[in-house]
């Protein structure tokens, strides 16, 4: 539930209370519809699979999904695959953050460098990264490094470009202010450029976490013996549709949870910016 910000104005009048109540009722209703929709979807899926309206060998069914889930939890394989995928995603994501911050800072510091690199960055960013993955496997081998590099490659170029754009668009007069106070370039960076870009950086990160997950799954499709991407590709080749759909479902959850974590951070920070 959303916290209501304290204000100096009174929050106790009946009209105000009624208003808050009506808002709360509305949001509860929306939640109810959301759950209802899910239930309707799952039951109709289950019923049509049982009555042969859809082929449950291809389309699976909620009950099969559940039993796959339970067996995979019991033999520990599910946790293992999740761990692998999550680990690769988070390492990739961390590398993207650190790498793009460093490169964007270098570009900001040295305009010539950024001008020289600009067309290459734009090109690399536009490149469909899934085309890169097979090349990476040849170069780096079928291992975790490849998958992490693959995850980074999906996110990093766009991330650098966006952070750099944020850096150069800092209000010129704010930089002038630091200079009038006799600050040097490093102080401009530390006192104005980076802090004023924190919200921007967080929203870029929100996009990046999803992109890293995409990169990891692409990598696992091609170069892995473990991880959810591997389960999907292996499952689809051996017609274990339960495994495939379950992995996709879990990827959804992972993406959502990682996104929510960043959004929470953003909300916390927005009080200061």
């Amino acid at each position: 539930m959303k916290k209501i910000r304290k204000t100096s104005d009174t929050c106790t009048s009946t009209a105000q209370k009624d208003y808050v109540k009506s808002i709360q009722r509305k949001s509860m209703l929306i939640r109810l519809y959301q759950i209802l929709l899910l239930i309707v979807f799952l039951t109709s899926w289950e019923i049509s699979a049982r009555h042969g309206i859809i082929n449950d060998f291809i389309f699976c069914s909620p009950s099969k999904l559940l039993s796959t889930f339970l067996t995979m939890v019991r033999d520990g394989s599910l946790i293992h695959h999740i761990e692998v995928t999550l680990f690769e995603t988070i390492i990739g994501f961390a590398l993207v953050i650190v790498g793009s911050l460093i490169v964007a800072t270098l570009f900001w510091w040295n305009e010539t460098l950024s001008k020289v690199m600009e067309p290459y960055m734009v090109m690399l960013n536009a490149l469909p990264k899934s085309a890169l993955a097979p090349v990476l496997i040849v170069w780096l081998g079928s291992n975790k490094t490849t998958i992490i590099v693959c995850a980074c490659s999906v996110a990093i170029f766009g991330s650098i470009l966006n952070i750099y754009t944020g850096f150069v668009n800092v209000e010129a007069d704010k930089i002038k202010l630091i200079k009038t106070l006799k600050g040097n370039r490093f102080q401009c960076l530390k006192l104005v450029v980076i802090p004023s870009n924190i919200p921007n950086i967080i929203s870029i990160m929100k996009v990046n976490i999803g992109l890293c997950l995409v990169g990891v799954v692409i990598g696992e499709f091609l170069a892995a013996r473990e991880g959810l991407g591997y389960v999907i590709i292996y499952g689809s080749q051996t017609f274990k549709m339960g495994n495939v759909l379950l992995s996709i479902l879990i990827l959804c959850f992972i993406a959502m949870i990682l996104y929510l974590i960043l959004e929470k951070t953003e909300k916390k920070l927005s009080d200061y910016f």
């Binding site: 002038k176 106070l181 006799k182």
Partner: protein, 260 residues
């Protein structure tokens, strides 16, 4: 006669771009004396901000000489305070941390300097707001905070670049009065740039009129008002006010035919 704290001698400044060279300031010569308050008025784009940037050492004159306290700008040890058009308080810092920004940059966060900050906060009514973010302050208070941010460094010369132009008319009158009094009280030599003629007259000892670009000095008009303890607000009631207004208005709008 006193020695001036700031000397301009035949200063020229040109901006360079690929397409052309813009002559922005031409043959500017004037002095600023200690404790004096000068205003520059002139049309938009005539080089007023450029002039202040020169004094602050942000840019270097194309030719001519600028001396601060008798020394070239680069070698001068005097402190220059510069207040920009907007307050540019940093939203992610509390008021207190905004005011200590200059000290932090100069690595002077010692006890005596911080004591000065506290005194200024108390004197100018921002003590209770020291821990809040800038967005909780009114426009006038923000401007005052921006002034204190420069006062903390005890400037010998204060540069004000249309510091009130972002405020609405009523607030503007009060804030200019407020800030004018603070400056008078602390006896800081000041250069104000403004579009507003009555603001210029009411605050200054001298008004210098610039022509349109390339900015040259068209007229220098000393302001002598026959009232005791003048403040920006009371100055407006001086009997000579109207006369000065017309005189400066005339100078601003005079055709600069001799330039062509």
């Amino acid at each position: 006669m006193q020695t001036p704290i700031l000397d301009f001698l035949d200063v020229n400044y040109n901006y360079h771009t690929i397409s052309c060279e813009t002559v922005t300031l031409k043959d500017i010569s004037f002095n600023l004396y200690k404790n004096e308050f000068i205003s520059f008025v002139g049309p938009s784009g005539c080089g007023k901000t450029t002039l202040l940037n020169l004094i602050a050492g942000l840019i270097e004159a194309s030719s001519g000489e600028i001396k601060i306290g008798g020394k070239p700008v680069r070698e001068s040890t005097l402190n220059i305070g510069y207040m920009l058009q907007k307050d540019h308080l940093l939203e992610w810092r509390s008021i207190y941390k905004n005011l200590t920004l200059g000290l932090e940059i100069r690595k002077q966060m010692d006890e005596s300097h911080l004591k000065t900050v506290d005194t200024l906060l108390k004197t100018y009514g921002l003590w209770d707001f020291r821990n809040v973010p800038p967005r909780q302050l009114s426009g006038g208070m923000r401007q005052r905070a921006a002034l204190i941010r420069t006062l903390v460094l005890s400037p010998d010369i204060l540069l004000l670049d249309e510091p009130f132009s972002a405020l609405d008319y009523q607030t503007r009158l009060n804030v200019s009065d407020d800030i004018g009094s603070i400056i008078k009280e602390r006896k800081i030599s000041t250069i104000l740039v403004t579009h507003d003629l009555s603001e210029a007259i009411s605050m200054s000892d001298r008004v210098i009129v610039l022509s349109k670009r390339p900015g040259t000095i068209k007229a220098t008009i000393p302001i002598k008002l026959s009232i005791e303890n003048r403040t920006p607000k009371t100055s407006k009631n001086a009997p000579e006010f109207g006369m000065y207004y017309n005189k400066i208005w005339g100078a601003v709008h005079e055709k600069d035919s001799e330039n062509e």
